[in-house]
Symmetry: C2
Subunit: 336 residues, 2 copies
């Protein structure tokens, strides 16, 4: 089952979307928003699945689904907890900075509390107050949970996953060192993220969803050129069950919590840094990693961060070549 | 005007509360929850004020208001951004650890993104998985904002403040060093906080609300004994306008954002660390500060963190001696 939220008010209007993303149908009025459905999932899920089945058989009123009309499936959420599960990425960044990485990074997830009060729509511009802040994309996988009990096990955590999607976790790289030096984590350096037009239930992903990971190439284009094709199922040190259990160690998590994978990153074929697509590699899911590789290989980063008018596209194709979650397509818009 | 949420479902049921906290009345059904009212404040505020006026004149159906029936006014919120505005507190903690504090801490606010997917009710126990985690109270002032534009000025930020209240920002002190060392800020070390039973509009606070600060003694009791009486309006380096503007530097903030002051802390009369109430001082708003003073004065912390069954009470009295926001009264409950 695929779900989306058409732009409408603060929370959008929930719709069930056909597997090919061509059509959508309205759910019963008890669940006008995705958050309302997640709050009451035991009741909502079978009814929504009934709508999805009717939609597949043209047996319910429906309309064309246009990704451009979609908000993020949760236009705002009660929690956005972003991990950093591709530890290879962290190790590379540290190597470029000449900083040792603690061994514990391989055994205990990194996670930060992100802002969730307003996500950008998947086709919304990325508002940027100052290009000197070093605006970067970060292509990631996200899951949406139901209620997760305090101290949940990995298995309980995996069972709590309701939906899967993609995000562009926008980051302001040049604000990060100052914030991290203060010790309280990210705040200004993590402005609003954007989510994929559609979130999908685990069962609808078939073999793409296994071992608590989403498998397949995360297609990242920058200004219309292929930039990243890293496989989200490879080199993910911590699966989503482990990430969710980490978040729930000292408190329950509310339904509608969004948990992120961190920037998807694959090792190179030789076990070293990944190569650019033009050089036969799978490329990158953020500019920082490319700049890191440039630093390691050539002594200095040469690719700039995002500039006014730059465009980013993030999606994943199914085995049939069609988009699974729809495409995040954003343009950077300097606003001052 | 004073507002509360009676325990009901995930978001409570909004009520208007009389100034003496004795009575409550229901708002019109368009705004069943506080979040719904905040989302539509321009319309909701005058109507809610009308209910409050009618309540004051016994001109509307009303019922007894019992603080024990109240959830946190926002039982869950889209954002919880907690500052650390009493820099004296930060300086003390650093002094005890023998770590220098950057001068920038006096000129740029510290702030972390907290979890907001579920707040404890003001009379709910504090669930604690393991006493070895070092459970601490943190008595703070909070404000709730309306929509705040990207890059808002301090004046715009101040004008966005809808409501003011208190919080117990529960912290797990022994998990903090490990988390901060990883560089991503707090996560497991900041479990669910509790809010005061009632939030209050700025105008209803009279002279207690001025210069973007709440003035008056924050009354903190521990196991029935006076523990803290620090004045929330003193030694607050950054007012709420500055804190909100800091949060909004790189993104808009959604209506219902809760911004915290950080642990309230007053300097001693001699400009050094504050003294315990038993020693003629105003005491402390968290155990960590007492332990810090113990370390500075006597070489080691002697007061333990919260244990199973310990009780915490946080409130503020008006000039008439009555509670302004109602009392946060919590008991620590070890759950494993």
């Amino acid at each position: 089952m695929k779900l989306a939220s058409l732009k409408h008010g603060r929370d959008g209007r929930l719709v069930v979307v056909s597997d090919d993303l061509a059509w959508c149908a309205a759910p019963p009025p008890m669940w006008p928003t995705l958050q309302a459905a997640l709050d009451d999932w035991a009741h909502a899920e079978p009814i929504l699945r009934g709508v999805a089945e009717s939609l597949a058989h043209d047996a319910v009123p429906h309309a064309r689904f246009h990704e451009r009309d979609a908000a993020s499936p949760l236009p705002r959420a009660y929690q956005w907890a972003d991990g950093s599960a591709y530890v290879n990425h962290v190790a590379l960044v540290r190597q470029a900075r000449g900083v040792a990485m603690p061994d514990s990074f391989w055994t205990e997830p990194l996670m930060y509390q992100g802002g969730s009060d307003g996500f950008l729509g998947p086709r919304d511009p990325i508002p940027l107050g100052d290009p000197a802040w070093g605006c970067d994309l970060e292509a990631e996988v996200v899951v949406v949970t139901g209620d997760v009990p305090y101290g949940a096990s990995r298995d309980e955590a995996l069972a709590s996953i309701r939906l899967i999607g993609l995000t562009n976790d926008v980051s302001l790289r040049n604000l990060i060192p100052g914030e991290l030096a203060k010790g309280f984590g990210f705040f200004q350096s993590k402005p609003a993220s954007a989510m994929s037009p559609v979130f999908v239930t685990p069962d609808a992903l078939g073999d793409r969803w296994r071992d608590g990971k989403l498998h397949g190439a995360l297609r990242v284009d920058l200004n219309g050129q292929p930039f990243g094709r890293a496989d989200a199922g490879l080199d993910m040190t911590f699966d989503f069950g482990t990430l969710i259990a980490h978040a729930a160690k000292t408190r329950a998590l509310g339904a509608g919590t969004i948990v992120g994978s961190g920037t998807v990153s694959n090792l190179g074929a030789d076990g070293g840094p990944g190569r650019a697509i033009a050089n036969g590699g799978v490329g990158y899911s953020c500019l920082a990693e490319l700049r890191t590789v440039e630093t390691i290989v050539g002594g200095a980063a040469v690719t700039p961060f995002l500039q006014d008018g730059d465009t980013v596209r993030i999606e994943m194709h199914g085995d049939d070549g069609h988009s699974i979650f729809g495409a995040i397509k954003q343009r950077v818009a300097v606003i001052r």
